[in-house]
Amino acid sequence: MPRRTMVEAIRDALDVCMQRDENVVVFGEDVGYFGGVFRCTQGLQQKFGTSRCFDAPISESGIVGAAVGMAAYGLRPCVEIQFADYMYPAYDQIVSEAARLRYRSNGQFTAPLVLRMPTGGGIFGGQTHSQSPEALFTHVSGLTTVVPSNPYDAKGLLIASIEDNDPVIFLEPKRLYNGPFDGHHERPVMPWARHPQGEVPDGHYTVPLGKAAVRREGNAVTVLAYGTMVFVAETAAAETGIDAEIIDLRTLVPYDLETIVASVKKTGRCVIVHEATLTSGFGAELSALVQENCFYHLEAPVVRVAGWDTPYPHAQEWDYFPGPARVGRALKSVMEA
């Protein structure tokens, strides 16, 4: 089976969808001739023409608003917002328009669009190229929010997102674009070409939305993670020797409560890890869900490991990033409680 980077897997997903459905169109800043600043759309304009893949003005609200109109017409726009940090000008179009259109029109109009956005830090992007705004989407009725952690999932989840009939926010952890990342920034990154999750089949397949994956089975503690943090959690488990069960959520909303609850009931302990800031982060929702559904099975308080409640700094990036040491300390603390 061919191995691909996450960038290549995403490009492959777009290619497959554009071939299968002529209504799938790709646009955004720099995505056309150049192929995107992360090269996820490279070659698509040359292959499918400028009516299917084209550059947009630097106007995120314009990009998303136009996509809503296109989707209402009957196209399936898959839009790239160059960095998730740039989506704020488009937030009204996402929240008040794309997310509500089906509901408010009682199904007369729908917005089957995908908004792809590179998310997260670890590339020295400072506070405007490193944010993880997933909680701003999970709080909105009508949005599906997806965060893949590896090339296989990225392709399958993106195809499922493009084929979904509702708006999907597709957050791509940019730190994982070219290789898995264990949270040790001083170590060389293992390329996806040498990692089993770099195996990406050719052609069409989907990974279902709303379903989590158990990445590592264990009995002592459940770790709920997504995106880059899945690999940080794996490293923390290996380094501490704690028998952790690691769940990769893949889709945040709709969330896979069944998998979460089954695991926490088995282990009796839960650590939640995300890169976004702590307060009102998606971890708070997960923590409440675990508390509501697993309270009598818990042997220790639920613990969250997250980005600090500061803007993402530049020079202190590795003090901000929730690395394996912090996750390891959390794992030990719940085991000792």
Partner: protein, 410 residues
């Protein structure tokens, strides 16, 4: 030490406030028939003057004059008059229904009926409007049933939107009427996106965006102009300048620009101003712009110069911020009266027939209202079910919403 004097802060103010004498003498108004009618493939830079003039057809003697006249037959004009009179009667009854507590809210069109009614008749089936809350004339003139409009306003058991939207935020796909958003200007760029899609698919349909004078200050207005001009989208971008954005006069959004239409010039978009109270002028300009879009000549910006006679909504009291007699002083008159007088002048109508038509139209509106109320009003009678509330958030209800619906006991 600096010799600079303190700066002073400038906030535009309307010419007159309550208690003063209304004065529109500073509004330059072109004479009927005076403004030229260029070919639709004219270069935008050749018609820059049309962004400052006002295209008018009906003169003071109720005659249709000039190069924009002569496009409509007697029967088409009579139909237009009937649409405007129906919208006015509909407004009167729904305004009263709100005062009677049968719904929460209403927004009327008094004084602006010609804009949406005349524009709608220039469109073809399959074209799509992205309207604001004050274009119900698009529905009336498009043949959408009044009963459905009223059921939406009452949020009753037959509400096509199942009680989910504020009154008057209609949605009627089959009638070329996009779901109205409560957030302003968002749909201007969506109209451009829809039009881009039509061009991308090599379709023949065009889109029309709608916005008020106040909302042109929103960034989405500017995004729409950028996208429309960049991709030469087949879209007509309408600005309804009714002078007032709730209590804020149009000078606050317009600022130093000469007119709202002039905003299109910097984008290279042909931009015209038209007398919004002149059914014939509105229709003629709409047809011109729609033909441009249809012939793949790109977007057109139109500013309709009109006046909001009524309150912004049933929650507004305009006497607080403008003279009560200001609407009487509005120099472009009443669109219904002007078309009526024109038809009488043409010998196609009479005072008697007008009175008779008024009575007939009101009777049909009242009959529709009775039927609508038999299916419930906001506070009495049948309603959409609480179970419906959970439907349609997504195509398929996800597990967390199913659990919440169970918790809610519905």
């Amino acid at each position: 030490m600096s010799s600079a004097r303190p700066l002073s802060f400038h906030v535009p103010e309307p010419a007159v406030r309550p208690g003063g004498t209304p004065d529109f003498s500073d509004v330059p108004i072109s004479r009927a028939g005076e403004v030229r009618r260029p070919d639709v493939d004219v270069a935008p830079e050749e018609i820059r003057d049309l962004a400052f003039a006002i295209i008018r057809v009906l003169n003071r003697d109720s005659e249709a004059v000039g190069p924009w006249a002569g496009l409509l037959s007697d029967s088409e004009l009579l139909e237009g008059l009937r649409h405007m009179m129906t919208l006015r009667a509909f407004d009167a009854r729904m305004q009263m229904a709100q005062r009677q507590g049968k719904t929460s809210f209403y927004m009327q069109h008094m004084g602006e009926e010609a804009v949406s009614c005349a524009f709608r008749k220039a469109l073809e089936p399959g074209d799509m409007n992205f309207p604001t809350y004050r274009q119900a004339g698009l529905l009336i003139a498009g043949g959408y049933p009044m009963l459905d409009m009223m059921c939406q306003i009452y949020s009753n058991a037959l509400d096509p939107l199942k009680g989910r939207q504020l009154p008057v935020l209609y949605s009627a796909r089959e009638h070329g009427f996009f779901s109205v958003s409560g957030n302003l200007a968002t749909q201007y760029i969506q109209a451009v996106g829809w039009a881009m899609a039509s061009a991308m698919k090599r379709d023949t349909r065009i889109a029309a965006g709608w916005i008020g004078d106040g909302s042109t200050a929103e960034s989405d207005f500017h995004a729409a102009l950028v996208f429309a001009s960049t991709y030469k989208a087949p879209v007509v971008l309408n600005i309804v300048n009714n002078q007032w954005a709730i209590s804020t006069f149009q000078g606050i959004a317009r600022g130093g620009s000469g007119t709202f239409a002039a905003r299109g010039l910097g984008f290279g978009i042909p931009s015209l101003r038209v007398d919004g109270n002149d059914y014939l002028a509105v229709h003629a300009v709409a047809r011109w712009a729609i033909e441009r879009a249809r012939r793949n000549l790109g977007p057109t910006l139109i500013e309709y110069v009109t006046y909001r006679v009524g309150a912004h909504s049933t929650s507004d009291d305009p006497s607080v911020y403008r003279p009560k007699t200001e609407s009487d002083a509005w120099p472009l008159g009443d669109p219904v009266l002007r078309l009526k007088n024109h038809l009488i002048r043409r010998g196609a109508w009479s005072e008697e027939r007008h009175k008779q038509a008024e009575a007939e139209i009101m009777a049909s509106v009242i009959a529709a209202q009775k039927e609508a109320e038999s299916h419930g009003t906001l506070h009495t009678g049948p309603h959409p079910s609480a179970r419906d509330m959970f439907e349609g958030v997504f195509e398929e209800m996800p597990p967390h919403l199913r659990r919440q619906r169970q918790q809610g006991g519905v």
